[in-house]
Amino acid sequence: MSSQHQLRFGVFFQGVNSSTVWRSEASGSQTDFASFRQIAQTAERGLFSAFFLGEGLRLREHLGGIHDLDVAGRPDAQTMLAALAAVTSKIGLVATQNTTYNDPADLARRLSSLDLISEGRAAWNIVTTHNAWTGANFRRGGYLEHHERYSHAEDFVRTVRQIWDGAPVHHRGNHYNVDYTGTVPASAQHRPVLFQAGDSAEGRDFAARQTDVIFSAHVGLEDALEFRKDINARAAKVGRAQNSVKIMPGAEFIVAETPAAAEEKYRWVREHQIGPQQALAYLEQFWGTRLENVDPYGPLPEFDPVVEQSSVTRGSGFQGAKSLELAAAWRAEASQKGQNIIEFVRSRSHRADHTFTGSYDQIADRLAQYAELGAVDGFNITPWLIPTGLDDIVNHLVPRLQERGIYPESYAGTLRENLGLSIDENHEQRALKPALVEQEVS
């Protein structure tokens, strides 16, 4: 059987997160080139469309000190991807890069460079931040207000795209000016592919206007369908065709030969991801204080969070959380489910609907539903083990997806082609016109 709609895989080598198991004998280096090479080459053997690297421009902190419980310390994304371009030949190479703490001319030049070195395989995962905490590592410092971050990002992306289009750029912005003419020629895919992951209404509109692929957080089937509908509606408003913005949710796969073996593996992974210290640290972010005297095998703390504070230092997901309300709700939830702290955090921090757990056949069947309904264009897989975490997926799941006609049998060409993206010249032109952009951009 063959289906019109095929799924594609990407792999997200996160490098800084709580989902990578580091306590196992099988856990390899998070830094050595060999680990990156092995994951990228395994992914390429499995015909993955893309290899992703993340970026965080300040080492994470927790309650005023360096956060020491998770993997951390990753090499520079584009420097690593340039090296991987030498040891792979088909897979896309995606660099997460920040619009607040880069310069458009420099970033445009480096991304073009990566695109040529990789022969049309480069992509940019656009992220934006505004906090002064990250800015403390950069010349400009924390110059951006929260409400400006998307308008600034869009301004930035538009400038980069103008540079890629080859014309002299004289950009006058709120925060700095850019006078620059690109010197690097275009690659076989015209320009690097643009990814973006923002999920707010603003982020979605930004993606609908500017990006090729959304690295979404909507994994569950219903959720994914709804997200697809929403993005299509937003894209239609700016004149883009249905499904022209590709959607690849981030997901975790825990797969094995049998359902029972997969369940067993699932328990092992969760135990190794979240230990007692990680569970307490997770709560400490919301309680705003050390919980060193709290038993991780006991119930959630009875006392309330000390301050109703949010933290920018562990990532944007925690901002604006109302700690008192959360604490009350969580206590009730944990107590109702009979969960102790560690069980609660394990269930909480790795949401079940972000994880595909099952036998190879079960998961292949589930993914066939996604393909049939056109819910997503693929998945961006975060391996929970480095550097062997893709082996099962490539060796056992991919062939089953191919049998079902929902996964490519070969690479098509450039990353743009592998993702099924076209170069829509009209959109390219429109995207450069400020008139179509709702926000203040200059």
Binding site: D68, T79, A83, F138
Partner: protein, 343 residues
Amino acid sequence: MSERSVLLALNLDGAGNDHQTTAYQALRAESAGFHAVSFSSDGLLDAVQRASYAAAQTHHIGVLPVIDALFTEPFHTATQLASLDIISQGRAGWILETRNDSVQAQAVGRTVLGEEQLSNEAADVVTTHRRLWDSWEDDAVIRDVATGRYLDANQLHYVDVEGNNFSVKGPAITPRPPQGQLPIIAPAQLFSESGLQHCRLNGADVVKINTASLQTLLAQATASSTSGAVAIELDVYLDTAGQSGAQHAAEVGIQSSDRAIFAGSAEALINFLKDFAEATANPADQRRHLVHLYPGDLGIDGAVLIDEVLPQLKSSNVLAPISATLRESFALPVAQNRFQEAS
């Protein structure tokens, strides 16, 4: 007699934007016995990326990107260079330049610096790199299952650089590079009291001398070599069967670079390098010096260097041994971690 004190680097800009030729030439240079290959960014693909691409395909040759210190972000360049060192397993170095021109400045929304500011700014930038590279101690990744700690926070350090024009908090987002500190090669003009005062591990490691005349170059290098490692740069046009080096140089015309031009036979170049080795040798401290060659044409002059010059030099007593890391090839001392010493 010279004491195996010279390192040779070959510039690969002649491969242009062709990454496959770049990698091929890097492999040729490695086989021939060059200590390093270099990459600048003049209208070409990113220097760090070309170095990284070449590093992934070579095994013991050094990789030297030329990177501007003025209109770049020190936090980014420190991360990139550390990453290049990780990828090359300790073969990376930095040829620092200060491109104080308005095109560079306006590309990033800034203005050119006053001439008197250059060495201070370079010093702030180098200090930032040095401190970021030390901000993770070598054993900061502990993977301690009993306490649940992947990192030992006591082995991570804020760098707290307060420069004249910027500040950087740290720590780095990338672990300490394999060499600890990458060798930094910087122009002699920056080595003022307040600038990159020649003090290994704080300032730059190698003083780069540029002057148009070969004789002046040799004299200045000799004088400078008494206080530390030096680097000289030459545009090289060598005699070939069809054309003399001088004719080739004349055809190419006026050079935009401020480098000295060497035009002549392979023999004459070998003799010049022997003279340089002899004049700068300092057997007492095993100091090594770099000769950085920019072939007029990578295909023509690069081939003569690889086929004729290197084999003869290797059989003489001029070339330094090639070590596992670039620091070791330069015979630079082990880079002690400044934060570790303080604790």
